[in-house]
Symmetry: C2
Subunit: 114 residues, 2 copies
């Protein structure tokens, strides 16, 4: 049954869909913030949409669980856009952010066409 078994799709992941719609409406600088509870398939859809519209997507994750979801989402999104001839790659980096007044180090991912 392949690897996609891992991700049981929730048909109505409303929060993710909202995020996707928002990111598609706004400009390229919008960051997709991913949590450990984000559904990788929904995030992958958001990445594919953002790439198609803006040519690149930026994601941000804090913590190992969130980083893991981002990586899975990028892998899945590669399959979403590959039939259109797009070969996605990602560039990870660190980003100092503040959450509730606390300094944290987020991982930032830029996803773009090869």
């Amino acid at each position: 049954m392949g690897v996609f078994n891992m991700f049981e799709t929730e048909e109505n992941n409303i929060e993710e869909k909202k995020e996707k719609e928002t990111s598609q409406k706004n400009d390229v600088n919008d960051v997709l913030k991913v949590s450990s509870k984000s559904d990788p398939n929904s995030v992958a859809g958001a990445i594919a949409g953002t790439i198609r519209e803006h040519g690149e997507a930026e994601l941000q994750a804090v913590g190992a669980g969130a980083v893991n979801q981002v990586v899975k989402a990028i892998a899945i999104s590669r399959g979403y856009v590959a039939p259109s001839g797009l070969d996605l790659i990602c560039v990870p980096g660190f980003k100092d952010i503040e959450i509730n007044g606390e300094k944290r180090t987020a991982i930032k991912f830029v996803v773009e066409e090869k």
Copy 2:
């Protein structure tokens, strides 16, 4: 003090160094297997060495903690090779593997020059 504070370097991470030496001796198909306990700086050194020798590196991680260490290592390794004019990117994917007779899904990362 910046993001690198997160990773307190162990000067003598012997296991990682052995892995690095082995990977540099063998051909490009050798996979750097990363665990949640791997030191991102050591893994970054292994990536940089493999890239310099073979032009690309492949890493494998099972579980969120291990995936997180790989991503941090790739971000750090970008800084290691950037002064030589190399701009590293990564391509994540899934890989079905078997650990102690149990089927697991690993995340595979191919790191290469842009």
